[in-house]
């Protein structure tokens, strides 16, 4: 998909590995400040509202169960959705991959006889790189979500799935609006900025006859679609146009209308720290004389069904895209979203993207985590992200370890050697002895190592390492035992203490 636009698109196939992609962000002090400030605000709101729910853990368990039940019989629920949606006057399309979904959407737009479309914020459309595709096909897509407008006008990329322009601050928004809307005198107060966006949007809402949305939930029982939003632009897109296209990942379906009771409570609190979203829209098929009269749902697989077969990884498809995991992630806090090279950043992106790519791309993402577990703690559908990260690491390693590049990679060599060493205590003890001699070469007079070679250099770029002690623990223990026997009886402690004290610098 590259080449059709003049701006970069988040594409896992083209993205550099995470450690390299993170570098420019780590150097960008302003961006890191923007990210940390924004997620602190959301996190604080979330924390307060989660704390007031006495049944939060029960809700999480219920949501996980609903999603698991759905995934257990996904095909059945999707067919039920198709049947009910069609009965209500909608058209349901099945897209195996991004290319098919793009083609279906373009055909619908062509049939509607339009070369313009307004869009409700949808990360799924970003996943299939819909905008650059439509642009190349001569269709102009207008984003209507404030954050998406900022990115579209500023030629930027989303760095967060709920707040896509999280990395952009107010002054930067003013600059983008002033430049692209021809408003040199625009101030940077929130009122002025939203006013500018409103004027820009109102015209589009009234003129453009087609709209594209994503979906937060598809309800199998009713054939209905639900979206939640904060600004009301989505509501405009759902009422004014004549043709409406909803693009939804196949995992978005829930069995019953009643399930929304659980899901909506969790989603609003987790995503934006609100008891309820300002706008929750639900619609089913077509209502004569009210809203779009031509309604299409495109069900997107694009790698999702390949995740179903693996028990641990299947949890990934429970995700309701609340972004709580990235808001709490200490890695995301430092790198923001772009380093993940995908529209799905943060911990969920680190497991979702490589799986959607079926491990052909984004192999560095499962390693982009310190496995601190904060994401699992907040996940409203209890996805054990660390567990899946570790599973994916094993799959990536299995794939890579015998390639020439990785076979001789110092870290891989080190891990193979370490495995041999750990297989026998005497080998381990020998390695400790050898290590102690080797360490002498790099230990400074202060007793610390300030520079290590090879992989170790990545450690010593910012941290020292205390030099190896003169005696390992097991050596001390052995000495203490021997001494204890010589003294006689069990009173070995005295001797042990004396031995232990000696190496204290």
């Amino acid at each position: 998909m590259s080449g059709v636009t003049d701006y970069p698109v988040l594409d896992p196939a083209l993205a550099p590995p995470f450690p390299a992609a993170a570098l420019p962000v780590l150097r960008n002090v302003q961006l890191r400040k923007n990210v940390a400030h924004a997620i602190d605000v959301i996190q604080a709101k979330r924390g307060k509202l989660v704390a007031e729910k006495t049944d939060w853990q029960e809700l999480r368990t219920a949501a996980a169960a609903i999603k698991d039940e759905t995934l257990e019989n996904l095909g059945g629920y999707l067919e039920q959705f198709e049947e009910r949606c069609t009965a209500a006057g909608g058209h349901v399309h099945w897209a195996a991959d991004a290319a098919e979904a793009r083609r279906i959407i373009l055909e619908i737009l062509r049939e509607a006889g339009t070369n313009e479309v307004i869009k409700i914020k949808t990360m799924t459309a970003a996943e299939i790189q819909l905008n650059p595709f439509l642009e190349a096909a001569g269709v102009r897509a207008y984003e209507t979500d404030l954050a998406e407008i900022i990115l579209q006008l500023g030629r930027g990329e989303p760095s967060h799935i709920v707040v896509p322009a999280l990395h952009v601050n107010r002054a930067q928004v003013r600059e983008i609006f002033a430049r692209t809307m021809g408003l040199p005198d625009l101030s940077d107060d929130p009122k002025g900025l939203t006013e500018a966006a409103r004027n820009y949007l109102r015209q589009k809402f009234l003129e453009v006859p087609t709209a594209i949305s994503g979906a937060n939930f598809l309800v199998a029982e009713t054939g209905g679609v639900a979206i939640v939003e904060s600004e009301g632009n989505g509501r405009m897109c759902l009422t004014l146009p004549r043709t409406m296209i909803t693009l939804a990942g196949i995992e978005k379906v829930v069995p019953r209308f009643q399930d929304l009771e659980v899901m909506l409570q969790l989603l609003a609190r987790s995503a934006t720290g609100e008891r309820m979203n300002p706008y929750t829209s639900l619609w089913t098929g077509v209502v004569p004389g009210d809203g779009p009269q031509n309604f299409h749902v495109v069900l997107l697989d694009n790698g999702r069904s390949s995740i179903l077969g693996r028990k641990t990884e299947r949890q990934t498809l429970r995700c309701i895209r609340c972004a709580a995991c990235m808001n709490t992630c200490p890695v995301y806090r430092q790198t923001g979203g772009h380093a993940y090279g995908s529209v799905y950043p943060g911990p969920i992106g680190a497991i979702l993207t490589p799986q959607l790519e079926q491990l052909r791309h984004a192999q560095s993402l499962p390693f982009a985590s310190s496995l601190c577990g904060a994401c699992y703690e907040v996940c409203p559908v209890k996805i054990n992200i660390p567990e899946i990260l570790i599973d994916l690491r094993a799959r990536v390693t299995d794939q890579e370890r015998h390639t020439v590049g990785k076979f001789f990679d110092p870290l891989y060599v080190g891990l193979r050697v370490a495995n041999v060493i750990f297989s026998q205590a005497w080998l381990f003890h020998f390695a400790q002895w050898a290590g102690r001699i080797g360490a002498k070469l790099v230990t400074r007079r202060d007793g610390w190592i300030h520079a290590l070679p090879s992989v170790g250099a990545k450690w010593t770029q910012t941290r020292d390492l205390r030099g190896l002690p003169k005696q390992t623990f097991h050596e001390w223990w052995r000495e203490r035992k021997t001494a204890g026997r010589q003294v006689g009886g069990s009173a070995s402690q005295r001797v042990g203490d004396a031995v232990g004290g000696r190496e204290t610098k």
Binding site: P19, T312, R393, D398, N419, G456, P469, T472, W476
Partner: protein
């Protein structure tokens, strides 16, 4: 508290090699509390480093070794939360996938007898006041594995609060990772360092003399940066604080 309690110390590979003073402190502490400590010389590693780097087969062989080594142990005490978390969270999956029924049975029998140090003191021995004396300003860093995998909760604080002379300074953003993450610290060295910088700001802002934890891995990370930056603070494993008495103060190395 029974005087006949026996505990086998699993020191862990990196503590054995890099932080023997922590092991000595565990021995001293437990013996003072009347526990008979044994140490099995055959021990090496729990397999965490391999498991977390994607070397599943290797991790399995180390895990198998460990389970066999301690099959008949009365209690296994580990002064490292992340190694205990490895056993609780990852061994079941490894043995399910790669092990046989006999191994799974041995593991199921062993697991309830594996204790992280603070769990052993509070839950098994039922002591909070271990008779320690450590007259210093100390801040406690909750390692991610201790906090979220083992759910140690207030155990570390209950132990530290009973240490005579110790002034405990609360740490801001207690639940935030220090950025170590094992091989993450070198595979993603730059991101890890950025996380460390943020954590260190909070740790140093406490103005404590010591930063303590139940994991020497986090302390190696934090301490490494403290030393690099000439920070007026040292790291010390909690076992050393708890072992410390007026007659024999803690060994402070480095």
């Amino acid at each position: 508290m029974s005087g006949s309690m026996r505990a086998s110390l699993f020191i862990t590979c990196y503590n054995d090699t890099l932080y023997p003073e922590t092991g000595r402190a565990v021995v001293r502490l437990l013996e003072r509390l009347g526990v008979e400590v044994e140490f099995r010389a055959g021990q090496t590693c729990c397999g965490q480093m391999h498991a977390n780097t994607g070397f599943r087969g290797e991790a399995f062989s180390q895990a198998k070794r460990l389970v066999r080594l301690y099959a008949d142990a009365e209690a296994v005490v580990v002064p490292s939360s992340s190694c205990v978390a490895m056993m609780r969270d990852q061994y079941p999956g490894l043995f399910e996938e790669l092990g046989n029924e006999a191994l799974r049975k041995d593991f199921r029998a062993l697991l309830p007898r594996v204790w992280e140090l603070s769990e052993f003191l509070i839950d098994k021995l039922g002591v909070e006041d271990v008779g320690a004396y450590f007259p210093h300003r100390v801040t406690y860093h909750a390692s991610c594995h201790g906090l979220r995998a083992l759910r140690l909760g207030d155990r570390p604080f209950r132990l530290l609060n009973k240490v005579r002379g110790l002034e405990l300074v609360p740490l801001k953003n207690l639940d935030r990772c220090c950025g170590f993450g094992g091989t993450f610290s070198v595979k993603n060295g730059d991101v890890s360092s950025a996380m460390l910088t943020v954590k260190l700001e909070d740790v140093l802002a406490t103005g404590a003399e010591f930063c303590t934890a139940l994991d020497n891995s986090c302390l190696m990370h934090l301490g490494g940066a403290m030393h690099r930056e000439y920070a007026p603070m040292k790291t010390i494993h909690m076992a050393q604080i708890l072992a410390s008495t007026q007659e024999k103060p803690a060994e402070v190395v480095g």
